[in-house]
C-alpha cells in the first residue's frame, strides 16, 4: 500500500514536472499571478487592517508612554518616593533613558484681554505636563512633533508648547465635547488656571501628531509647573522609560516590581497601558482580516479548481490513454495535486518576497497616512507561514477534486472523446 502510494507520487511528480515545464509560459504566469494576488489578499488586507491600529499603538509607544510607563496609583495624587524610584529606574541595566513628568489638570484661557462681560469665554480644558525638555526628548523625541514655533529649552520661563487640537484652527470639526482656543498661534499669550493659581504663558510651539496625549495637552518646563502647583518634594506623576534595543518591556516591568516599585506606583508596559478599546479594535480587525482572508482563500480555491478542471477536461483523451495503457488513476491524480502545489508554492514564495522584501520595509519607511495613525503593514512571520500552509492545503483540495472528477470517467469514453 505504502509502496503503491510512493510509486503513484513518483509518477505523478514525473508527469507534473513535464507538464509544467512544457506548458504555455503565459498560462503558467497567469496562474502564478493569480496565486500571488491571492497570497497578498490573504496577508496584506488583514495586515493593513491590523497595521492601521498597530500604527496608532506604536506611535503612542514611541511618542508618549515609551516602553515602560510608571504612573500614580489610583488613590494617590502623585508617585510617592519618586526620587528613589527614578534612581532605581536609572540603574536598571536595560534602561536607556527616562523622563519624569508632572501632570495637572488645567483650564486654558485665551483672548482674555479683549473679552467682554457676557461673551462666551475663550477657554479649553487640558492636562499640563511639566517635563525636563532634554530628558523628555531623549525618551519620546517630542521636539520632532513641534512643527510650528520651537521646542522647549531648559531655561524657558512661562512658555508652553501646545497640542494642535487645543487650537480651533487645527480642529477639523466643531466638537462640543472638546473645546479649543480661538485665535491662538505661536507667540500668543494664554492663561493657565490650575486650582486657584493663574499664570500667563506664551505659546512657544505647536505640537502636531496623531497621538491624542500630545495633541490635546500642553507641555512646559517642569520647574515652572512645580512652581505653579507648589510641589517641592520631587514627587512626580509619571515616569516614562525607554529601554535599550532588544530589551523586553515585560522583563523591565517585573524587575521594577521585584524592587518594590509597585508599592508606590502603577508599573505598566506600553502594552498594559493600552486602552481596552484599542485592544478590542485590534481583535476586531484581526477577525475582519481573517474573514476577508477566508474569502480570498475561497477565490484561490475556485481559481485552482477551474484551472485544473479545464486542464483535465481538455486533456481528457490523454488521461484516458494513460489509464488505457495501465497508468493508475492515483498517479494521474497526484500529477494534478503536484501541479496545484507548485502554483501555490511559487505564488506564495513570490508573495513572501514581495511582502517581506518590499511591502513591509517600504510601508514602515513610508507609513500610510490615515487620519488617526500612520498605518504600517503587520505581517508576523508565524501567521504568514500559517496562511501559506492554508493556501497550499486549499489548492491541494481544489486541484484534487476536479482531477478526480475527470479521471474517474470511463476510460474508453475518454479515449474516444465520448460523453
Amino acid at each position: 500500500m505504502v509502496t503503491k502510494f510512493f510509486l503513484h507520487a513518483r509518477i505523478g511528480f514525473f508527469l507534473a514536472v513535464r507538464h509544467i515545464r512544457r506548458a504555455s509560459l503565459w498560462t503558467t504566469s497567469l496562474i502564478i499571478f493569480v496565486m500571488i494576488l491571492t497570497f497578498l489578499n490573504l496577508v496584506v488586507v488583514s495586515g493593513i487592517l491590523v497595521g492601521l491600529i498597530q500604527g496608532a499603538v506604536d506611535q503612542v509607544r514611541t511618542e508618549f508612554t515609551s516602553d515602560v510607563i510608571v504612573s500614580t496609583l489610583n488613590d494617590k495624587s502623585y508617585i510617592e518616593n519618586s526620587p528613589g524610584l527614578i534612581a532605581l529606574m536609572e540603574q536598571l541595566p536595560q534602561a536607556q533613558a527616562i523622563s519624569p513628568r508632572y501632570s495637572e489638570g488645567a483650564l486654558l484661557e485665551a483672548n482674555y484681554k479683549t473679552h467682554k462681560v457676557g461673551d462666551k469665554p475663550n477657554t479649553a480644558g487640558a492636562q499640563i505636563f511639566g517635563i525636563d525638555p532634554a530628558r523628555e526628548d531623549a525618551v519620546t523625541n517630542l521636539s520632532q512633533s513641534v512643527t510650528e514655533g520651537s521646542y522647549l529649552a531648559p531655561g524657558d520661563y512661562d512658555q508652553v508648547i501646545i497640542g494642535q487640537f487645543l487650537l480651533s484652527q487645527y480642529v477639523p470639526v466643531d466638537d462640543p465635547n472638546f473645546a479649543a482656543l480661538d485665535n491662538v498661534d505661536v507667540g500668543s499669550k494664554i492663561r493657565i488656571h490650575i486650582g486657584d493659581v493663574t499664570r500667563e504663558v506664551t505659546v512657544k510651539g505647536i505640537i502636531k501628531s496623531k497621538v491624542d496625549a500630545l495633541t490635546r495637552n500642553v507641555f512646559m518646563v517642569d520647574s515652572q509647573l512645580r512652581s505653579i502647583i507648589g510641589r517641592n518634594d520631587g514627587n512626580v506623576d509619571q515616569i516614562a522609560m525607554l529601554l535599550r534595543e532588544g530589551a523586553d518591556p515585560a522583563a523591565a516591568r517585573e524587575a521594577l516590581k521585584r524592587s518594590g516599585a509597585d508599592r508606590f506606583a502603577e508599573v505598566q508596559t506600553f502594552d498594559d497601558a493600552q486602552p481596552q478599546f484599542l485592544k478590542d479594535i485590534i481583535n476586531t480587525f484581526n477577525m475582519l482580516g481573517a474573514a476577508f482572508s477566508s474569502i480570498g482563500l475561497v477565490v484561490a480555491s475556485i481559481t485552482i479548481f477551474i484551472v485544473v478542471f479545464i486542464n483535465a477536461i481538455t486533456r481528457r483523451k490523454y488521461i484516458g490513454i494513460m489509464k488505457g495503457i495501465g497508468i493508475e488513476a492515483g498517479a494521474i491524480e497526484f500529477s494534478y495535486v503536484f501541479q496545484s502545489i507548485f502554483y501555490a508554492l511559487i505564488g506564495s514564495s513570490i508573495g513572501l518576497a514581495l511582502v517581506y522584501g518590499f511591502l513591509v520595509p517600504f510601508i514602515a519607511a513610508h507609513p500610510i497616512d490615515f487620519p488617526f495613525s500612520d498605518g504600517i503593514l503587520v505581517a508576523p512571520i508565524g501567521q504568514t507561514m500559517f496562511r501559506v500552509g492554508l493556501l497550499v492545503a486549499a489548492t491541494v483540495v481544489a486541484g484534487y477534486i476536479p482531477a478526480w472528477m475527470i479521471i474517474r470517467k470511463n476510460t474508453l469514453d475518454a479515449i474516444l472523446g465520448r460523453n
Binding site: F14, R22, M322, G324, I325, G326, L412
Partner: protein, 221 residues
C-alpha cells in the same frame, strides 16, 4: 491465448438499444497475427476494446491465458493491461508534453522500474524502431509516421504478451504505413501476438489470419 465465447456488446441510448457485437466466438493463439476487418460500424474496434479489456462486454466471456476476465476488478484490469498488453491507436495517442523516450518509459515506470532502468529500456525500444536519434524530441517535433513508431515502441517496450493495434495506419501516408506494417511483421516473426483492426485489405493480407465482421457478427474467417 485469448478466447471469446458468445461475446455480446450492446449500447443503450435511452430506450433504444443497439447490439454491436452479436455473440462472437473467437480464439487467438499465442504468437498469432490476427487482422480484424469489416466496414465502418461492423463492430471491429468494439471487439478489439473488449478483448483488450478497455471496455466491459454486455454478455459472454473472455478468457485470457486461462483467466476469466469477468472476475477481474477495474484495478486488476488496469494492472493486467499494464503488464500483459500493448496498445497502438489510430491517432498515435502519445502524450504531447513528454519526449519520445519519456512516452515509452511511462508504462515501465508504472511497473515499478527505476527511472534509470526505464530510460534504458525505452531507449532500446526506440532503437529497435530506428528512433534512437529522436528520443529527446517532443511529439510535435516528429512526423506522423515517427509518432506512430513511438507509440509502437511504447507498446512493445515491456514485452507484452499481446499487442493490440486499432487502425494503426489509418492516419499515415503509404510509406509510413508500409514501415509500420513491416515492423508488425518483424515483431510477429519474433513471436509477438498481434491483434490488429484495419479496413485496408492490403495491410490485412500481411497478417497470419483475417476475420471479417459485418453487423456485429463474424462472416468470414
Amino acid at each position: 491465448m485469448i478466447q471469446t465465447t458468445n461475446l455480446i456488446k450492446t449500447f443503450r441510448d435511452g430506450d433504444r438499444e443497439t447490439r454491436v457485437l452479436k455473440g462472437i466466438d473467437l480464439t487467438v493463439r499465442d504468437g498469432e497475427f490476427l487482422a480484424i476487418m469489416g466496414r465502418s460500424g461492423a463492430g471491429k474496434s468494439t471487439l478489439l476494446y473488449q478483448m483488450s479489456l478497455l471496455d466491459d462486454p454486455t454478455g459472454g466471456e473472455i478468457i485470457i491465458d486461462g483467466r476469466d476476465t469477468r472476475t477481474m476488478s477495474a484495478r486488476e484490469k488496469t494492472s493486467f493491461r499494464l503488464t500483459h498488453f500493448g496498445y497502438v491507436f489510430q491517432d498515435y495517442a502519445i502524450l504531447p508534453e513528454l519526449t519520445a523516450r519519456e512516452n515509452v518509459a511511462m508504462p515501465l515506470l508504472m511497473q515499478g522500474k527505476s527511472p534509470k532502468e526505464a530510460r534504458a529500456i525505452a531507449q532500446e525500444a526506440l532503437a529497435r524502431l530506428n528512433l534512437a536519434h529522436r528520443a529527446d524530441n517532443l511529439p510535435s517535433q516528429l512526423s506522423g509516421g515517427e509518432q506512430q513508431r513511438v507509440s509502437i515502441a511504447r507498446a512493445i517496450a515491456h514485452r507484452p504478451s499481446v499487442l493490440f493495434a486499432d487502425e494503426p495506419t489509418a492516419n499515415l501516408d503509404n510509406d509510413s504505413s508500409h514501415t509500420i506494417m513491416k515492423i508488425f511483421q518483424e515483431l510477429h516473426k519474433k513471436g509477438q501476438t498481434i491483434i490488429m483492426v484495419t479496413h485496408e485489405p492490403q495491410y490485412a493480407r500481411l497478417a497470419e489470419r483475417i476475420i471479417t465482421l459485418d453487423d456485429g457478427a463474424m462472416v468470414m474467417v
